[in-house]
Amino acid sequence: MGNPNVGKSVVFSRLTGANVIASNYPGTTVDFSKGKMRLDGEKVEIIDAPGTYSLEPTNKAEEVALKMFEEADVVINVVDATNLERNLYLTLQLLERDKPVIIALNLWDETKHLGIYIDEKKLEELLDVPAVPTVAITGEGIKKLVSRIKEAKSPEHIKPTSDEARWIEIGSIIKKVERIEHRHHTLVDRIADATIKPLTGIPFAIVIIFASFWIVRLIGESLINFIFDPFFNLWYKPVMVELSNLLGSGFLHDIIIGQLINGDIDFMQSMGLLTTGLYVPIGMVLPYIIAFYFTLSILEDSGYLPRLATVVDNVFHKLGMHGHGIVPVFLGLGCNVPGALATRTLETRKQRFISATLLAIAVPCMAQTAMIFGALGTYGMQYIVMVFLTLGVLYVVMGLILNKTVKGESPEIFLEIPPYHRPSLRAVTKKTWMRVRWFLSDAIPFLFFGVFIVNVLYVAGVLQWLGRVLSPVTQALFGLPGSASVALIMGFLRKDLAVGVLLPLDLTPLQMVIAVTMLTVYFPCVATFAVLIKELGIKDMLKATVIMIATAVVVGAVLKVILLGV
């Protein structure tokens, strides 16, 4: 346990060998993770808890931390050695309870060049519990920490007391154990400040955001052009053609290979398990997932996100949240599931509801983005811009409306800004890999399932029937053929698959814009839906669902009038 952003997750990874996400901003861990390690030949369970400033929780993530504390037999209190004074508050609270505690003085490497000198022996003596300096990212001191876990104890002389008394106690401890050399404001500090001052910070934020998108596209396209497409076209396709010939025609062929388009396999449209089912996640989405998470990891580890949260706070405040609401958006652009979890760092129900609903409506995950590009890429960039512009406008407009209509408080931002760090390539690569693996193990079963269902429904004639029945409605409201509604049903399972349904419909570019936008807005995928039910509760999720569907219908109808002019 410990304050946010002190390196708990890195310590946890060191202790257990399990990998968890660590980033340079408070509120990275919002749920607990369990892992095992050997201690004196015995297997013990270690828990990584979210960060908290005190034992009185102020948001959902901190509530989880408190619950973990109550479950634990021994507490490893990870402390930011460069910020001892503030960290000791939680430490004292922990020591007041009767649970054995051991302290890890983490970020020890940073203390030296900040001119901070801590006498850890003295601290140990004053608090009467072991205190071990550690550098979690290099592993320094971790062995020692482990070897002393059995010395953890709950000191007799520290008793529950008032806030004031705690701060006085902390003051006197600090005086005895810490010496800080005065440090002048360096050039680096000045540059760091420039990224948060409005005059320079706002242009900087715009540049960073555009640069990030550009990098994601560059990496993603390069991966596709040089690795994934050659693989699928030169190597994989001949195998599939062979298999197709071998299977002949019939149900099995339809399920595995799918329909032949003009006598040939089309990876996007054939809808077979081994053709579209494999190509969409691997050939279309995966390259962008890799590119996105690589870029996001760099942004996260640098420590820029809290500064961005500060710069955009005034906008987010008008939308009923505060600046930290940008974190779910960023994570959601990769996948809406971690985005939905990240709403836990917002303090009130109102903020979480707005953040989660807007996420589901207007933040396209990578699979959705790949779908948007896949469906509109051949028509031209301007159509893709149209979709994203619509989504951006939706985020703001819906936010303004929800802020006015949803009851509850939206407290102001109160956020610690961590110092900048140079992201290490190793950490970034590792983190990217962890998330990519997660995508693969999570998304692919859904895709296969989706492809399977579509084929069964198609063979049974259900989809054709649905298309006919819904045709008058979709035609009148959105200017779309009835079979486009099939894409909406597909999209419930995996949005990226829906593109395979839309492409054969021969829509005009503007019709495609409408279809794709509605597809993004009307509903999150099942995985996100499940997480949102857990995060918001059934009742709020029902409300959110109604809002999403209503928004999609309105947006579709409005776009029809604007774009098609009828």
Binding site: Y53, S54, T58, T82, N83, E85, R86, Y89, L114, D163, W167, I180, R183, D193, I196, K197, P198, G201, P306, A309, T310, V311, D313, N314, H317, H322, G323, P411, E412, I413, F414, L415, E416, I417
Partner: protein, 80 residues
């Protein structure tokens, strides 16, 4: 000469000031204490965002962003 007391929101970015009073309930006080904002503490105002945006200050060598309303409840005297 005693320095004038003014809310944190009126301090020009770049200036250093000392906290004289934090107005507000127990919970609010506690929250600020947690980030090192205590009576008598010296702080530097790093930035003030436009359109009633938040204020970022540096205390104990650490930066923290607080909303405009909160910052208005922190009374300080400017040192330089």
């Amino acid at each position: 000469m005693t320095a004038k007391t003014l809310p944190l929101t009126s301090v020009i970015p770049g200036m250093t000031a000392r906290i004289v009073d934090i107005r507000g309930g127990y919970g609010f006080q506690k929250k600020l204490h947690m980030m090192g904002l205590v009576n008598g503490k010296k702080l530097r105002v790093v930035s003030v965002q436009p359109l009633r945006g938040p204020v970022t200050v540096e205390v104990n060598g650490r930066q923290v962003t607080l909303g405009r309303g909160m910052a208005g409840k922190v009374l300080v005297e400017v040192i330089r």
